[in-house]
């Protein structure tokens, strides 16, 4: 029995430990070579000295660490949102963009790029449109009273997402092929190389704030995955809980997407990895998704910025790294009920 508990503890502790190790490694590697002693020097310098910044300090504190921070934040946000949506919709194929968040963010961003707006406005438009789409989807689902509420949410999300997707394609066709188009394509595949400190300072509080209700109410998710009537009989206000979950997950995704672009695959697959790792109990599943998502994105982004001489969109690398790993987990099994 003790060994069983040990192994549970091991499983719970491993992802955070891996994350910590990965962060240290990620700080050390990159296009700009920094040796371990330089790293240590820069860290002590940062806290205990007022000497002028060197280039190494800039690379480490202004470029690399914000980027690693963004990877943790965005990876955690997207996976948590994915796990929430999957639990709520009782559907394993659902990802954070099921309610059209990414299609909306995408349209906002490509339109801002098309009209040559500033980088900040691209982020604002992406964020605004992401929320707008989810709002429209929610309204449509409300109007469709004669269907199962979950089903009508998913269906109107898919339909409106497709509509916005076509609008994105239209803007791409009209864009200047020598400048804007490349920026748009890159944005639609997501990347962390444009994230700076200010972005992180702005988005971290929003994402953390959204995580709070999800973490506090995560036990309710187990009940939500039951039939609505059963849940009601257990004393849970299904509708209100669902709205809180949708709102938090959506706001989190919109914030993440607006600073990095659309990073696909994570929100869909990380919750499954977490489920295979720790089991379906949402109380453990949600924190596990958070850590595994962070590990996954820090890992892929470190690969993205060290293994290639140019920046590749993260959407491509997450798939190339994630698919084999996910398939091996799938084949090897995992926790059985």
């Amino acid at each position: 029995m003790a060994s069983h508990r040990d192994s549970r503890l091991f499983k719970l502790l491993l992802p955070p430990i891996v994350l910590l190790l990965l962060c240290v490694i990620a700080c050390c590697v990159g296009q700009y070579g920094i040796s371990l002693s330089e790293l240590a020097h820069s860290i002590t310098q940062y806290f205990f000295s007022t000497a002028d910044k060197t280039d190494i300090d800039t690379v480490l504190w202004d470029i690399r660490i914000p980027r690693i921070g963004a990877a943790i934040l965005v990876g955690a946000a997207l996976s948590m949102a994915g796990a929430t949506y999957q639990g709520m919709f009782r559907n394993p194929l659902v990802s954070p963009d099921v309610l059209g968040v990414t299609a909306g963010a995408g349209l906002g961003a490509v339109m801002a790029i098309y009209f040559d707006l500033s980088f900040f406005l691209v982020q604002v438009m992406a964020f605004g449109f992401a929320l707008l789409v989810v709002f429209i989807v929610y309204l449509v689902a409300k109007l469709a009273r004669h269907h199962d509420p979950i089903l009508s949410l998913v269906l109107s999300g898919v339909a409106i997402g497709a509509l916005f997707g076509s609008a994105i394609a239209l803007v791409k066709i009209l864009a200047d092929p020598y400048g804007q188009l490349a920026t748009m394509v890159f944005w639609m595949l997501g990347a962390l190389n444009m994230v700076n400190r200010e972005d992180l300072l702005m988005s971290t509080p929003i994402i953390l704030l959204c995580m709070v209700p999800l973490i506090l109410l995560r036990w309710r998710m187990n009940i939500l995955s039951l039939d609505d009537k059963e849940a009601l009989s257990l004393g849970v206000n299904v509708n209100r809980t669902r709205i809180v979950f949708i709102l938090s997950a959506t706001l989190m995704t919109a914030t993440a997407v607006s600073i990095t672009g659309v990073i696909g695959w994570i929100g869909l697959v990380v919750p499954h990895m977490a489920r295979l790792w720790i089991g379906p109990d949402f109380r453990k599943l949600l924190p596990m998704s958070l850590f595994i998502g962070a590990v996954f994105l820090v890992l892929t982004d470190t690969i993205a910025r060290t293994c290639f001489p140019i920046e590749l969109p993260l959407g491509i690398i997450t798939a190339f790294v994630g698919v084999p790993f996910f398939l091996s987990l799938l084949i090897r099994g995992g926790v059985r009920k």
Binding site: L117, S118, I173, D176, G179
Partner: protein, 351 residues
């Protein structure tokens, strides 16, 4: 059976004559990489369709009165004011070239052009679309190579083929003068045994989109003998790079065409660490009516060559010489007289 033979013979004959025509065209004009259909006599050409943004830029200067429209979408009035009055009212026709064509074929036929002209990349994609569109519409279609150092030859070739030989020669001579002046200036630099100046071209909204060595986006920078720092990341295409790489490359000069990025760079503390920014060597290249460095990569880059020469080798080209070159270009190529104010706007940091 006999009939089959006859058809076969006819087919062979037609393809043979097509081949002759093609090889003849290519022998006389090495820049013509594809010619489909019977090219009309140059003097009979009155209506020309431009296939893409690159050919727009060239044709608006070479044959403004024969051009039927712009393939470039949404040219603003702010841009069009530099063009001759007749050209300003031309419609937006859509792109023909490449796989992302937005020009309805029926509309092309309805416009009754004598010829479709494409300038720029001459890969199999463009050649094969040209052939296909010629077959579908019956309108002659030529594809002309569009490298920067070939600009004079492009102008001469298309001048001859479109019945504007004289104007073609006039523009070509001016282009030649620009290119040779720039070459002389950077040869001066190398004869002094100085290392080439390290330049970074910051494209896109955040400035991290750039052209690698020899890419079409940064041809003008290569041409003036500067060292494109992004060469260290590879060659041939445009790509995204990261801030870390820029910290490593330490460019002496940053060139951009993007106003938004220029503003961002001036404020962002991380960019202040790059030597070029520290030393105030950041230059915003003008982009009206077309980008001077790129966007589109056409003859407009001649302006970029003059501008870059003044930016990089100020002692080899006086401001006087520079402004004469720019004024002369607008006058000759667009028929537009630049005001002192406009010129000063284009030349910030160059006086």
């Amino acid at each position: 059976m006999k009939q089959c033979q006859w058809i076969f013979n006819a087919l062979v004959g037609v393809s043979f004559s097509l081949l002759c025509q093609l090889s003849m065209g290519q022998a006389n004009y090495p820049l013509v990489r594809g010619a489909f259909g019977d090219l009309p006599q140059p003097n009979n050409i009155q209506r020309v369709v431009s296939a893409g943004p690159v050919s727009d830029t060239l044709l608006v200067s070479l044959v403004p009165n024969k051009l039927l429209g712009f393939s470039t979408h949404g040219l603003s009035t702010e841009v069009k004011k530099y063009f001759p009055a007749t050209v300003q009212n031309l419609p937006n026709t859509g792109r023909v070239a490449g796989r992302d064509s937005t020009f309805p074929l029926e509309k092309i036929v309805a416009l009754k052009p004598d010829i479709i002209v494409d300038v720029g990349a001459t890969s199999a994609t463009y050649i094969s679309t040209a052939e296909r569109i010629n077959k579908l519409t019956g309108i002659p279609y030529i594809v002309v190579s569009g490298l920067l150092n070939e600009t004079p030859e492009q102008l001469r070739t298309l001048g001859d083929l479109l019945g504007a030989s004289e104007r073609g020669k006039l523009l070509a001579d001016y282009a030649e003068k620009i290119l040779s002046t720039a070459e002389r200036a950077h040869r001066n630099q190398t004869s002094k045994n100085q290392a080439p100046i390290k330049v970074y071209f910051g494209g896109g909204i955040d400035g991290l989109q750039t052209g690698l060595a020899g890419s079409i986006q940064t041809e003008a920078i290569d041409f003036v003998g500067a060292y494109n720092v992004a060469s260290e990341a590879g060659k041939g295409f445009s790509a995204r790079v990261s801030m870390e790489q820029l910290m490593k490359w330490k460019p002496d000069v940053i060139i951009t065409q993007d106003e938004n990025f220029y503003q961002r760079l001036m404020k962002d503390p991380v960019w202040q660490r790059i030597p070029a920014v520290k030393n105030g060597k950041v230059y915003l290249a003008p982009s009206k009516p077309f980008g001077w460095i790129s966007h589109p990569p056409s003859i407009n880059r001649l302006l970029g060559v003059i501008w870059l020469t003044r930016v990089l080798y100020p002692e080899a080209m006086s401001y006087e010489e520079y402004s004469q070159g720019i004024r002369g270009y607008y006058e000759l190529f667009y028929g537009y007289e630049l005001t002192a104010h406009e010129l000063a706007n284009f030349s910030k940091g160059l006086e």
